[in-house]
Symmetry: C2
């Protein structure tokens, strides 16, 4: 049924029932002018991210479930990138009147799956009509005892990432070839244009990205940022805030076998996906070389110069390439 | 210059510089993966509101300054409606590439004016491109020692509102006649189609609404809600949550002289604006009849029936009329 037929009030009621929760730190959740929470006596972390149809997502390639999962994950990634523990979510959802109400149910199911994984509670939001296309915006509030900023890197620190880079961007490229959504969440498979064992992790990373918890190396990290717009652009941001440079060894980047095979089949350079692809949602962090850290070391912090050592051992400057709006 | 030419990074830089702040409760504001705040040891109130071009605002009628002011005020109104003190803002802004960068400057100036008035700090946000039309979403975090919910009204309580109803809706109707924005913030005036002294307060209430602080009656209030979608729909929400009814005396509604004159000139019923107009951003609250309260008493809470006593003293049921999405 179209949301225009179901009506705003009964949709709100449905969402409220779905996300009803009892928790000691929530005095009042969805349903009043504002939520009331009783936070722990700690610093709080606040972050927000918006996803606009036609810019951040294309419903020809992504299911509503995946969209719901993803809007939660990308915000959680920001909290993790501060070394924090995410807790409360607020959601703004703008939908055109032609939207089927099953869209909301699937979207909420995806959110719920992600929220369960990260231990989150939905405490408020705003449901609105939109004229053209859908828009989703989430705000996350988390706890951060000892926040790790972008600004703490020093020359000599090693640069680490938490996982393979470029998979998500390659997954998007695959979807453009496949030209339809794939309901990974329901176990759907597809063996074109490549073998499923190659496509699966790439599509998963793009459509259902899991945010990387930073707990295991948090005490070692001197600076952190999540890679959302691309390695080089986000590393540049960290350098900017820390007032330092960086030297990255291309040969040290973790590149998955699936990315290598798929990029080759699609006629793309896997290192392009890995350095400027965006939406990796891996964490980039720096740590003293004296600390032992369980992550991929990809380079080191320098005084000022930002360079990349390519596969032929040639040193070149890198520029902050990656996703930018209005370009 | 078009935002597409200015570029995302320098726009972010500009916004960050503008809203840079030093405050004991902000450890890190705009510019990292998440903001870090050190809140007072109190309950926190969380609320969010989204405004979509073509649905909540029409740039043929509203200036960017007014839009910036309004997105802050409407969220503050939700915090006040809980008896709270607003403090931190996060802002998501989606803009099409054709947007002039002066739009952002004016929008920020309006936000800044409102933020100063309410004592707010901008701690984060997300700047994004959009394909069709602009979208603004703000999240507010405030303190609430003793939150007043929608659910606390009891039969016998009096129903109060903090100010004249319907002015905003009539202001919007005037703008549809005028067919262009009016820069009230710069002292612009206009004597058509009605005298400025009549139009001014109506346009002000619609374009630059000030949220009503509830401090002066907070200890008396048993239930509160802000009137954003219309008196009858928001009163119905309060009744729903409290499990009560209400009896409203139409003759007791505060109706401004300007509304009476303008509605008559435009051929509208002023009571229609006042009961179903929306965007009043006055606070509706209930209090025991034994409490002396400095506000307009418009009726009383009943056991179950929701009725209105009209100007001819006839009692009729009222239905939750007002603004609804997808209708």
């Amino acid at each position: 049924m179209r949301v225009a037929e179901v009506g705003e009030l009964s949709l709100l009621e449905r969402i409220r029932d779905r996300f009803r929760v009892r928790s000691r730190d929530v005095i009042a959740g969805i349903g009043d002018d504002a939520a009331v929470i009783a936070p722990l006596d700690q610093n709080l972390l606040l972050t927000t991210d918006m996803m606009v149809e036609g810019v951040h997502f294309d419903l020809r390639f992504i299911t509503p479930y995946q969209l719901g999962f993803k809007i939660v994950s990308v915000n959680v990634s920001d909290i993790y990138a501060m070394g924090g523990r995410p807790r409360f979510v607020l959601l703004d959802l703008g939908l055109d009147g032609e939207t089927d109400d099953s869209f909301i149910d699937s979207f909420c199911a995806g959110m719920e799956e992600a929220m369960g994984r990260y231990g989150l509670i939905l405490v408020g939001g705003d449901l609105s009509s939109s004229r053209h296309g859908k828009v989703v915006s989430a705000t996350l509030i988390g706890y951060g005892k000892r926040p790790v900023m972008r600004s703490g890197a020093s020359p000599g620190d090693r640069i680490y990432v938490t996982g393979a880079l470029g998979d998500s961007a390659c997954g998007l490229e695959l979807l453009r070839t496949i030209e339809r959504p794939i309901a990974l969440e329901s176990g759907e498979k597809l063996d074109k244009p490549l073998k499923w064992s190659i496509m699966r992790p790439l599509l998963f990373r793009h459509l259902l990205p899991e945010a990387r918890n930073t707990r295991r190396f948090i005490t070692a990290a001197t600076a952190m940022i999540d890679i959302s717009d691309g390695l080089f652009i986000d590393l540049s941001r960290l350098c900017e805030e820390s007032g330092v440079g960086a030297k990255v060894y291309l040969g040290c980047l973790p590149i998955s076998n699936q990315l290598k095979k798929a990029a080759s089949a699609l006629g793309f350079d896997p290192y392009r996906f890995a350095t400027a692809g965006g939406e990796d949602y891996e964490i980039l962090f720096t740590a003293s070389p004296r600390k032992r850290v369980n992550a991929w070391c990809i380079g080191e912090i320098t005084r000022a110069e930002r360079t990349v050592v390519d596969l032929k051992n040639q040193v070149k400057p890198f520029s902050p390439e990656g996703y930018r709006h209005w370009h």
